[in-house]
Amino acid sequence: MSGITKPWTAFDPGGAKRIPGTVGVYEIGDEAGKTLYIGCAGGREPFGLRGKITGHFTGPQAADGSPARPRAYRYEVNLQYLTRWIELLTQHLEAQGGLPQWNERARSELPRLGRFHRAAGVPAPSGGSP
C-alpha cells in the first residue's frame, strides 16, 4: 500500500470531535506539510484516533517550544493498525532517509522496523500541504 493519501486537515478543537474513536494510523504535519509524526491508535487507546490525534495538539508536544509546530493531521481507520504503522514508518524511513522528527525523539516506542531494499529516489509517501 502507499502512504496515507488523504489530504491534511488543519486541526481545530471543535472539528476534532468528528475524528473517529476507532483504531487506525495517522500522521501529524507542520505548516509546510512535512510529516512530524506517524502514529497509531491501538486497541487500548480509550478514544482511539480521536484521542491520540487530539493529544498531539493539546498535549506537551504542542507547547514544548520546538520550532516544528503541529498544524494538521490525516488518518486512516485500519484494523491492521500495527502492520500498517510499520509499513508507513518503513516507507518514510527509506524514502526520506530517516524517521519523522517526533518519531526519532520517541524511538523507544517504535516497533522493530525492517527494510524494503528500495532503490534511492523512490518518491516519498504522497500528500499535500495542510
Partner: protein, 384 residues
C-alpha cells in the same frame, strides 16, 4: 498407543505452563492487544531466563547444540507455549528461540557456519520463500521464479508472496525453478542474502493475522553464488516437502493450545456469569457448547500426538499429519467461536484475546497447506 507423559515430558510441560502464566500473560496486560513483540529489555530478560532453565531452542537437534527432543515432547510443548494472547503466531514471543529453519539442517559445513548456527544463536533472522502468486498449495507446478546458471552464479527472477518476516530477515531460503522441463524434479533451494542486489521487498501484505505479517518479494536479475545452493540442484522440492510435513504437527498443536486457553476462559466465565437469575453454567445451551469444545480439543490432541508418535517411531506419518492438521485447525476455530458465544458481547472486544484468536485461527485452515489439500493427501492414501 500410550500417550501417558514421561516424567521428563511432565516436567517440561509444567515448567512451560508456569512460565506462560507467570511471565508472559502478565506482560500482555500492558501491551497492545495486537502486539507481536516484547519490549527489547523484557525479551532479553526472558531469553536469559529460558537459557538458564535449559529450554532454549528445544526443537534444535543435538548435533547443532539443541536438546534434540522428540516430536511428541515438542508437540506437547507447542500446545503449552501458545496459551496466551499472541501465542498462535508468536508463541511466548519467541523467547524459547526460533529453532532455525529446519530445511537448513541440510546445509553443508560452510553454510552451517554462515547461516544455520547464527540463526540458531538468534543472531540472524531468515525467511522461507516458497509460495508465489501462481499458487502455494502445489509448489511443484506453481513455482515460476526461475534460476538460470551463469558461470559460478545462479540468476533468480520472479515474485514470491506471503513471505513472513522478509523485511526483517538477513537471508532467506528461496525455491526456484532451475529446470523448466521438470516438475518437482526441477526445483532448487537457494540461500539468498537480503542485501543481494536484485532482491527487494515489494510490500507488506495486510492480513487477518496481527503477528509476523507476510510480504511480497521480488527477484530481479538477483545473482546468487553456486555455494549458496542448499542441498543438490533440482532436489529442492524434497527439502521443502519433508520439513513442511513435519512442521504441520507443532502447527496443529499451537492451534490446540489457543483453543485450550479459550475453553478455560469459557468455563470460568460460565461459572461466574448470571443471566435471568442463574449461572450460564446451569444453562443446557452453554453446557453443550462447553462439552462440544472438550470433544474437539481431545480429538485434536489425540490425532496430533498420534502423528508425532508415528514420526518419532520412524513410521510413515504423512496421512496422520494431514488428518491432525485438518482436525486441529478446524476444531480450534470452532472452540474459539463457541467461547466467544459464551462470553457474549465481551467476547468480540479487544479486552479479551478471543477476537484475536478467532481472526488468526481462520488463517490456520489455509496456512501450511489448506484443509482441502490435506484431504487430497489422505484420499490418495485411501483410494490409490
Amino acid at each position: 498407543m500410550d500417550f501417558l507423559m514421561t516424567d521428563q515430558q511432565r516436567l517440561i510441560i509444567e515448567t512451560i505452563r508456569r512460565f506462560v502464566q507467570d511471565e508472559i500473560v502478565p506482560l500482555e496486560a500492558h501491551l497492545d492487544p495486537d502486539a507481536f513483540e516484547l519490549p527489547e529489555e523484557e525479551f532479553d530478560r526472558l531469553v536469559g531466563m529460558v537459557k538458564e532453565m535449559g529450554f532454549w531452542n528445544l526443537s534444535v537437534p543435538t548435533e547443532f547444540g539443541g536438546p534434540g527432543l522428540d516430536l511428541v515432547t515438542l508437540t506437547l510443548a507447542a500446545e503449552e507455549m501458545s496459551q496466551h494472547r499472541a501465542g498462535l503466531y508468536a508463541p511466548c514471543y519467541h523467547v524459547f528461540g526460533h529453532g532455525g529453519l529446519a530445511q537448513l539442517y541440510e546445509a553443508n559445513e560452510d553454510q552451517r557456519q554462515r547461516y544455520l548456527l547464527p540463526l540458531i544463536r538468534g543472531e540472524k533472522h531468515a525467511f522461507f520463500a516458497l509460495t508465489e502468486p501462481s499458487g502455494g498449495s502445489d509448489p511443484a507446478r506453481a513455482i515460476r521464479t526461475t534460476a538460470v546458471r551463469d558461470g559460478d552464479h545462479w540468476v533468480l527472477n520472479g515474485t514470491k508472496v506471503f513471505i513472513s518476516g522478509a523485511d526483517q530477515a538477513d537471508f532467506g531460503l528461496v525455491f526456484a525453478r532451475s529446470d523448466p522441463a521438470q516438475g518437482r524434479a526441477g526445483i532448487t533451494c537457494f540461500i539468498v542474502d537480503s542485501d543481494t542486489p536484485g532482491f527487494r521487498v515489494r510490500r507488506i501484505i495486510h492480513v487477518l493475522r496481527s503477528t509476523e505479517y507476510p510480504c511480497e518479494i521480488e527477484f530481479d536479475e538477483c545473482r546468487v553464488p553456486e555455494c549458496n545452493v542448499l542441498g543438490e540442484v533440482n532436489k529442492g522440492f524434497t527439502i521443502a516437502n519433508d520439513r513442511l510435513t513435519r512442521n504441520r504437527i507443532p502447527y496443529a498443536a499451537g492451534s490446540i493450545g489457543v483453543a485450550v486457553a479459550a475453553q478455560r476462559m469459557a468455563i470460568r466465565w460460565a461459572k461466574q456469569r448470571e443471566t435471568f437469575g442463574d449461572l450460564l453454567a446451569h444453562r443446557q445451551a452453554i453446557q453443550w457448547m462447553i462439552v462440544d469444545n472438550e470433544i474437539d480439543l481431545r480429538t485434536s490432541r489425540w490425532l496430533t500426538l498420534e502423528a508425532a508418535s508415528k514420526a518419532d517411531c520412524g513410521e510413515p506419518f504423512r496421512f496422520e499429519t494431514a488428518m491432525a492438521k485438518v482436525v486441529a485447525t478446524e476444531a480450534a476455530g470452532r472452540v474459539v467461536d463457541r467461547a466467544i458465544q459464551v462470553h457474549g458481547g465481551l467476547g468480540v472486544t479487544k479486552d479479551l484475546p478471543l477476537e484475536r484468536w478467532y481472526r488468526e485461527l481462520r488463517i490456520r485452515r489455509i496456512g501450511e497447506g489448506p484443509s482441502e489439500v490435506q484431504r487430497i493427501i489422505m484420499a490418495r492414501d485411501l483410494l490409490y
